[in-house]
């Protein structure tokens, strides 16, 4: 296995709705920033992979147009996943394992303000027996939250405390959309949108982008003083139908975490792709993260949720804390599909 590291991470200053910039205009400064940070020339990068979802703006092949932000000339080796860019990073990591390239650019973006996210995510559900009923993401989130509280005996206050902590932590994140001094009582004081979930329990609508540069072995050491080495990375998926799964746990996250080697060292920081407060609690348990582990110091997805970039941002936020020396070993998680159906876990480490 080649040693691959994150040597650069950039994200937009996310906003709730950006009517001034189309996807390319939103991406250009982020890509320019990450390439500059990496110390690797734009035309030297060996492979480019992006994650996005054309349905977010209703434009087929919008991901192809997004390449305008990369300057794909002379023609580049490039790929795309119609899912969160954390999986684009996984594909880039696999490509780097082959040994014929030394670096990769990974980016993700989403303008979720453009359409109705609930209606869009409905279309990923079973087309015969579920989608025609109109089930949206807040609704299936509510179902899973209820299953979790019923099974574990945790309370709505436990959820509200996650929401309040995230809003507080996001104050230190200049790129977050939702931040502030919010108490659990404030969260509980609002009427539920889908009981037991209240507005602050649900990630905000966000427009934004993010990018990462990966480099192999010697190149990573040359361009980065403290590369964030990927020590393990794995992803697993569960069955599609909600009624055949145990919604109170995340078996796929536990399995991916095991395979990625989460438990083989101390975890200084974890960034979990929890789009609802209950998801953070489910994911902590699945990854065996105790109360002492600092989870989502960035504010997490509850602070900013540029769908399709949010998972990549979790990897970037852990890498960033390794780069700046505030952490040595961290876990990043990304999720896809309804109710944590598919989960990716990445273990990153810096060496002194």
């Amino acid at each position: 296995m080649r040693d691959i590291a994150v040597v650069g991470f950039a994200q937009s200053k996310h906003v709730e709705s950006d009517t001034h910039h189309n996807e390319v205009e939103m991406l250009m400064p982020v890509i320019a920033d990450v390439v500059k940070q990496s110390g690797i020339g734009a035309k030297e990068i060996g492979f480019t992979c992006s994650g996005s979802c054309d349905y977010l703006i209703g434009a087929p092949f919008s991901f192809v147009q997004a390449l305008d932000a990369v300057g794909a000339w002379p023609p580049i080796s490039e790929s795309h996943v119609e899912m969160d860019a954390a999986w684009a990073l996984y594909e880039a990591w696999v490509a780097l394992q082959h040994g014929d390239i030394e670096s990769a650019l990974v980016y993700g973006f989403g303008k979720t303000s453009t359409g109705d996210l609930g209606e869009i995510l409905n279309l990923q559900l079973d087309p015969y027996t579920v989608a025609p009923l109109g089930l949206d993401h807040l609704s299936y989130g509510g179902l899973q939250a209820r299953a979790y509280l019923d099974t574990t005996g945790r309370s709505e206050r436990d959820l509200a405390e996650v929401a309040a902590r995230s809003a507080h932590d996001a104050r230190d994140n200049p790129n977050a959309v939702r931040r502030g001094e919010v108490t659990a009582d404030d969260v509980l004081g609002e009427p539920p949108v889908r009981s037991p979930l209240r507005p602050f329990d649900c990630a905000p609508i966000t427009d934004g982008a993010a990018a990462v540069v990966l480099a192999a072995g010697d190149l990573a050491r040359r361009v980065c003083s403290r590369p964030a080495w990927i020590r393990g990375i794995d992803h697993r998926i569960e069955a599609h139908q909600l009624g055949v799964r145990d919604l109170a746990t995340s078996m796929s996250t536990a399995l991916a975490g095991d395979t990625a080697g989460v438990a083989s060292g101390a975890v200084d920081v974890a960034e979990l792709h929890a789009q609802f407060s209950h998801e953070e609690l489910i994911l902590r348990e699945a990854l065996g993260l105790g109360d002492e582990v600092r989870v989502n110091p960035s504010g997490g997805a509850l602070g900013a949720n540029p769908v399709m970039a949010t998972g990549l941002i979790r990897i970037g936020e852990v890498a960033h804390r390794i780069h700046d020396g505030s952490a040595t070993r961290g876990v990043a998680h990304a999720s896809s599909g309804p109710c944590l159906q598919q989960n990716l876990v990445c273990v990153l480490e810096g060496t002194d």
Binding site: G58, D136, L143, R146, D150, A239, Q241, L242, G243, V244
Partner: protein, 153 residues
């Protein structure tokens, strides 16, 4: 280049399949919806004897093909999870406050997703019993089952 807000043009854009998107159902979903048109709910047996509802072509755990043996389930069942919708969205199956629920029908080993027309959130509880309410006019669509309703106690 920065432009003032009023210069940032926005247009309403619709992505639509006019006349609808046609799907073939295959023998398994086709059987489920044919029975539904007749006002009946069925599941399919897995190799180990458990009953999968809604029926599917493959066992979600073992990936083996399901047996092709259909058994009646419901019309009553138990709510295993639920959430309340105070303000339904335009595509929701019910257009007044209702609950989504996972319902494990009597005779089934898995739960199916549908709506519960409970009237008020206070009527909902995990573990409660509900029963299927069918539409008068049925065509072979999941909404032939209009919703579940609390079972009269």
């Amino acid at each position: 280049m920065a432009i003032p807000d009023h210069d940032a043009l926005v247009a309403h854009h619709v992505l639509e399949f006019p006349g609808g998107y046609k799907r073939s159902l295959g023998p398994v979903i086709g059987r489920f919806l044919t029975e539904l048109r007749d006002g009946k709910l069925v599941g399919v047996k897995l190799a180990d004897g458990r009953v999968l509802v809604p029926p599917a072509e493959y066992d979600p755990q073992t990936s083996e093909a399901t047996t092709g043996e259909y058994v009646p389930v419901g019309p009553g069942g138990v709510v295993t999870a639920w959430t309340w919708v105070p303000q339904p969205k335009r595509h929701h199956v019910l257009q007044w406050p209702f609950a989504w629920a996972l319902v494990r029908l009597d005779g089934a080993d898995t739960a199916m997703l549908h709506a519960v027309d409970a009237g008020d959130e206070s009527k909902m509880a995990t573990g409660m019993r509900v029963t299927a309410r069918f539409r008068e006019e049925r065509v072979g669509h999941i909404t032939d089952l209009e919703s579940f309703v609390p079972e009269p106690s």
